[in-house]
Amino acid sequence: MSKALEIENLKVAFPTHRGVIRAVEGVSLNIDKGECLALVGESGCGKSVTSLTAMKLLDDTAIVRADKHIICGEDVLGFSDKQMEALRGRRVSMIFQDALSALDPVMTVGRQLDEVFIRHLRLSKKEARERSVAALAAVGIPEPGARYRSFPHELSGGMRQRVLIAMAFACEPELIIADEPTTALDVTIQAQILELLKKMQQQSGTALLFISHDLSVVSNMADRIAVMYSGKIAEQAQRDELIARPLHPYTRGLLSAVIGINDKKDSFIHIKGTLPDPADKPHGCYFCPRCSEAGEVCFVRQPLLKERVSGHYVRCHYLRCHRSERGEENE
């Protein structure tokens, strides 16, 4: 199967007055056509930087290196801004977290949608208008004809997010990157938006890179999940495999941090501490200062991302013992 996105060994660094901040350190991602890959991690772990670099949207202050960067079959490593512009919007598009700041406040949402069709598909204004109203209807906006003339501030948060989704799917792209599309929304609206995204993705067969910090959101959306920690992929596996058998201590921590409505936990289980300072990362495994299972080797040597079970990649020294523990449980 051909891939919608292939990134190999991506490194992003930002030179600052405090020293070089290595935001992304050797991340490899690939997404099949029509697949939904979720990238999960805490704020500051580099997931947004990864998504922006995937679109080549970072400005010149960042130092970006990658061995391979292929979007929809096009090798974009050496692409100029102009070449990327032909790709963005038409074949790859993005959905941002805060719809209010992603939309232009002084332009009606209809005209902003028209722009997509006029710019990328070279439609006439009249055709664009028809397509825009249809696109608004497709994302479940009531009275699309009237909403076409609304300004972003006249719509609710959920409606604005629907407009962004309509815009992202407008040219039927092959890949969409959704950066925390539901974080700013209420739980009931979040449920609506996730349902809509899933429906649109299945209808159009678009590949989706879904970025979130909430494993419970991700487990409802993704086919495959990659957990990111301090600029590196800590674990990557098929959704059901990762949720049923998390191998990395960080993933286990993230999973138990999800507060279910029906669990009878007396106290919450949480991961102690915070992400390491990106300008001053620890030696050895980046997670070891917060890890309850860290041994001596963790403080000295960095673990590598290895395939432990087929399709299940983990970056941890102490894997064998967990697996045997689980084996005993199974017996």
């Binding site: 805490e42 500051g44 009531p142 009931t188 449920a191 494993l215 999800v258």
Partner: protein, 338 residues
């Protein structure tokens, strides 16, 4: 108007009690309306009905959860109990004293016992302040503390919220979101409040940090016996923290009662939808997805405000107003069809 008059007995000493527990904060038929800018000079003045006839009782030492979507008036209700907004009608009592009518003396003495934690600590803390300056500010405003006393108070409260004394001189922006929320909590606790309003204290934070902050709030309540008004749209968090909850929709309370009962047998269709919207890891559960958005609080629909989105709305719902009625000992619901 959904006035739930709960067995409030005024005993001889004048202390208001409910089920033998002392009531700290209560509202009676509280409404708060905000005027909307007129479209022309001669247009009729319109109002946002942020809170509409709400009566709640918060007992001493309990955690009261207020749940609803954004724009349903939960923050306005909380602000009214703090005396930040004047009620359009109805009354607000704090520790037995009426504070809603604008009597400054009553409000001032009540305010000494109240504090609030905001949603986004990065926005509620002054970025130029050090931790010491931020946390000690409420005491400095109150006055009467020497520099040594201030330092002792600050270091004591920092330890209580899980920070260290060495953090005192660092700037507040040097901390992560979760740590900043701890600073905001320390700042609220330093004046030893009886009543603490937590307005979505974890919504702006990472999921991995939610549990830490909720744990801290639970342990602080156990240690200090503070009364919480906990505002959230996340029912899972509310369930962990609160003994009593009220579900709000468009300014009105639609369900009210002990948390245990409401989660066990949610009565109102809106509550059922809210509970089913909480995502779980298995992802397989049947979910009720509400259609559309809440109606505008300016032109409230006649009859039940939830009827346009309700899955089981009857013809009658659109015309008759629902009142909060008792369906069990400690369980009230505003929907007649349950």
């Amino acid at each position: 108007m959904c006035a739930a008059i709960i067995c409030v007995a005024t005993d001889l000493s004048g202390v208001r009690k409910m089920n033998d527990k002392e009531i700290l904060v209560s509202t009676r038929g509280l409404s708060v309306h905000f005027p909307v800018k007129k479209e022309s000079t001669f247009a009729r003045r319109r109002y946002i009905h942020a809170v509409e006839g709400v009566s709640i009782d918060i007992c001493k030492g309990e955690a009261f959860g207020l749940v609803g979507e954004s724009g349903c008036g939960k923050s306005t209700l909380a602000n009214a109990t703090l005396g930040f907004v004047r009620p359009t009608s109805g009354e607000v009592f704090f520790d037995g004293a009426e504070i809603g009518s604008g009597k400054k003396a009553a409000l001032k003495s009540a305010r000494l016992k109240m504090q609030k934690i905001f949603q986004n600590p990065a926005a509620s803390l002054d970025p130029r302040y050090s931790v010491f300056k931020a946390v000690s500010e409420p005491l400095r405003i109150r006055g009467g503390y020497t520099a040594k006393e201030l330092e002792n108070e600050v270091s004591a409260v920092l330890e209580r919220v899980g920070l260290t004394v060495s953090d005192m001189s660092r700037g507040v922006t040097e901390f992560s979101g979760g740590q900043q929320q701890r600073i905001a909590i320390a700042r609220a606790l330093i004046v030893k409040p009886e009543y603490l309003v937590c307005d979505e204290p974890v919504s702006a934070l990472d999921v991995s940090v939610h549990a830490q902050i909720l744990d801290l709030l639970v342990s602080l309540q156990e240690q200090l016996g503070i009364t919480y008004l906990f505002i959230s749209h996340d029912l899972a968090a509310v369930r962990k923290l609160c003994g009593t909850i009220a579900i709000m929709y468009l300014g009105q309370i639609v369900e009210y009662g002990s948390a245990e009962r409401i989660f066990l047998s949610p009565a109102h269709p809106y509550t059922r939808a809210l509970i089913s919207a909480v995502l779980s890891l298995d992802g397989a559960r049947e979910r009720i997805v509400l259609k559309g958005d809440a109606a505008s609080p300016i032109d409230l629909p006649s009859g039940c405000a939830f009827a346009p989105r309700c899955q089981c709305a009857h013809e009658k719902c659109k015309s008759t107003e629902c009142r909060l009625t008792r369906i069990a000992d400690d369980h009230f619901c505003a929907c007649p069809y349950i």
